[in-house]
């Protein structure tokens, strides 16, 4: 476990102090200045609501998490495949890369209402598709950069062993690209949860987390809305940490990830 987290408790202590301090200050300020609940509820009331509605909340969170997860897996997986093709056949790469970079600048989430009409808004696939597109670009761009940033000497060495392209990819390009791929994947985990929740704001199943947050806010149940937001944060962090743990397991050779 220590290796997965990578740091000892004493290294975490300052961060924990900041967290506890922030929550404490938040609570204190709201009580002291008597801030209206629709503006900002106290952390303690959010926590209470979170606990009391945990059954419904968890069902909604799980529904949305599945959308985020599968969108992430599909988008990232496809991105890695495309990057491999673009790195292997440079002509294809130079033809497509400018558009890929341009597409990366598009606010893809703006397409969420469109995917809602392509697939049923009630169906998970409408959110999975928007999440997949969101996750695609950071992973693809990072993977391609990794695959092509190999030390030229390392390639000459493989050439001196009369190694074929497949062997060069398997033994040099892909291992070199792995840290880049994980950077892309970590960016994507954050986008995945954002994509799923915001996608649901444009319409989705009643038991989806985004829809729950939206409807609770509309009927002024702000504590419930905030509890939903809290869960969305926790799920996003969980997905991020899972990928970070996978990174540590995979990249054991990198000095910064070992002890």
């Amino acid at each position: 476990m220590a290796r997965l987290v990578g740091r000892r408790f004493t290294d975490w202590l300052p961060a924990v102090v900041v967290l506890v301090g922030t929550i404490g200050l938040w609570e204190l300020v709201i009580r002291a200045f008597d801030v209206q609940e629709f503006l900002l509820p106290t952390p303690s009331s959010i926590a209470r609501t979170f606990w009391n509605t945990r059954g419904d909340l968890w069902a909604a969170g799980w529904f949305t998490f599945q959308e985020a997860f599968w969108g992430f897996v599909l988008g990232s997986g496809f991105a890695i495949l495309v990057a491999l093709v673009l790195a292997r056949w440079r002509m294809v790469g130079t033809a497509f890369m400018p558009y890929a970079i341009a597409a990366n600048a598009i606010p893809i989430i703006a397409f969420a209402p469109i995917t809602n009409t392509w697939f049923s808004p009630l169906d998970k696939s409408s959110k999975i598709s928007i999440v997949a597109v969101l996750c695609f670009f950071p992973v693809m761009v990072n993977t391609l950069r990794g695959l092509t940033s190999v030390n030229p000497r390392a390639l000459e060495l493989m050439e001196s062993y009369a190694a074929g392209q497949m062997q060069i990819f398997r033994r040099v390009r892909i291992p070199t690209a792995l840290p880049f791929i994980f950077t892309g994947l970590k960016v994507s985990t954050v986008l995945a949860m954002i994509g799923a929740v915001v996608g649901e704001y444009f319409g989705g199943a009643l038991n989806a987390l985004g829809v729950q947050i939206l409807t609770k806010a509309r009927v002024s149940q702000f504590q419930e809305a905030w509890a939903g937001i809290l869960l969305a944060c926790l799920l996003g962090i969980a997905l991020y940490l899972a990928v970070a743990a996978l990174e540590r397991l995979t990249l054991r050779w990198v000095p910064s990830t070992s002890e």
């Binding site: 000497r153 390392a154 000459e156 001196s160 009369a162 291992p175 792995l178 050779w253 990198v254």
Partner: protein, 257 residues
């Protein structure tokens, strides 16, 4: 039969002529250094021997075969200035990489890695990762990797150029020991005059623009070379001879201006 045979090789990169009219033969068991200022094409010549670069005209053959065939047959091992170890592989796995590509079975690979680790005196470091090793140790791993599949020819491109003087001199001694033990032929690119004289049986002096061979100096120092070789009068005479040959090449370059 010569190990390396270069016939009238010319190499142009666009407008610049990197090498012009190079002829060179290297016999089995020789230790030949290529020395010259930056831009004299010594690294390019080494890469032409290794078929990593193709000459514009002329031919390069290794072990009586065209350089390309020799590369495919894995007739040579190569060592660069930086060790180019694969970070994700342990030291042992780095050394066995060419053996994996040559489809040696696991047992034979393990035995060979053990032998090579002994040769470069790194026994006990098989399971270390490259970043845990000093620069000198990394370069020894690179040498072990280049020799792991018993090539008859070892190509070295300024292998000790990035190391401090102390480490460099120690590795020079070690390289000579390995060269004698393996019986291979070495082509060694260097910037250092004393290193070239100390290691070589022949020093090929090159001059730039266009890159060409300006002089070949036979080194008649007795074998095996030892630490005291560097203190012999003959060593200093040869160092002076190489230095003058280098400056001569430099002067002819400046003369027309």
């Amino acid at each position: 039969m010569s190990v390396v045979e270069i016939k009238d090789v010319t190499k142009r990169f666009g407008e610049t002529t990197a090498l012009q009219g190079i002829d060179l033969e290297i016999e089995p068991g020789e230790f030949v250094s290529l020395i010259g200022p930056s831009g004299c094409g010594k690294s390019t010549l080494l890469r032409i021997i290794g078929d990593l670069i193709q000459p514009t005209s002329g031919t390069a053959s290794v072990n009586g075969k065209p350089a390309r065939q020799a590369r495919i047959d894995r007739d040579y091992g190569i060592v660069f200035q930086d060790a180019v170890l694969y970070d994700w592989r342990t030291v042992g796995k780095n050394i066995s990489l060419p053996l994996e590509l040559a489809r040696w079975d696991r047992r034979r690979r393990a035995a060979k890695v053990k032998e090579m680790m002994e040769l470069v005196e790194l026994t006990g470091f098989e399971n270390h990762h490259p970043w845990q090793l000093s620069g000198g140790m990394q370069q020894r791993v690179a040498i072990a990797r280049a020799l792991s599949f018993d090539p008859l020819l070892l190509l070295m491109d300024e292998p000790f150029g990035a190391l401090d003087e102390m480490t460099r001199e120690r590795l020079n001694m070690e390289l000579l020991r390995i060269w004698e033990a393996s019986g291979s032929t070495v082509v060694f690119v260097t910037h250092s005059i004393s290193e070239a004289v100390f290691l070589s049986t022949r020093v090929v002096v090159m001059s730039p623009r266009p890159g060409r061979i300006s002089n070949i100096i036979s080194v008649d120092l007795p074998q095996p070379r030892t630490a005291t070789t560097r203190e012999e009068p003959r060593f200093f005479e040869l160092v002076t001879e190489v230095r003058e040959a280098l400056h001569l090449g430099h002067d002819t370059e400046k003369a027309p201006a």
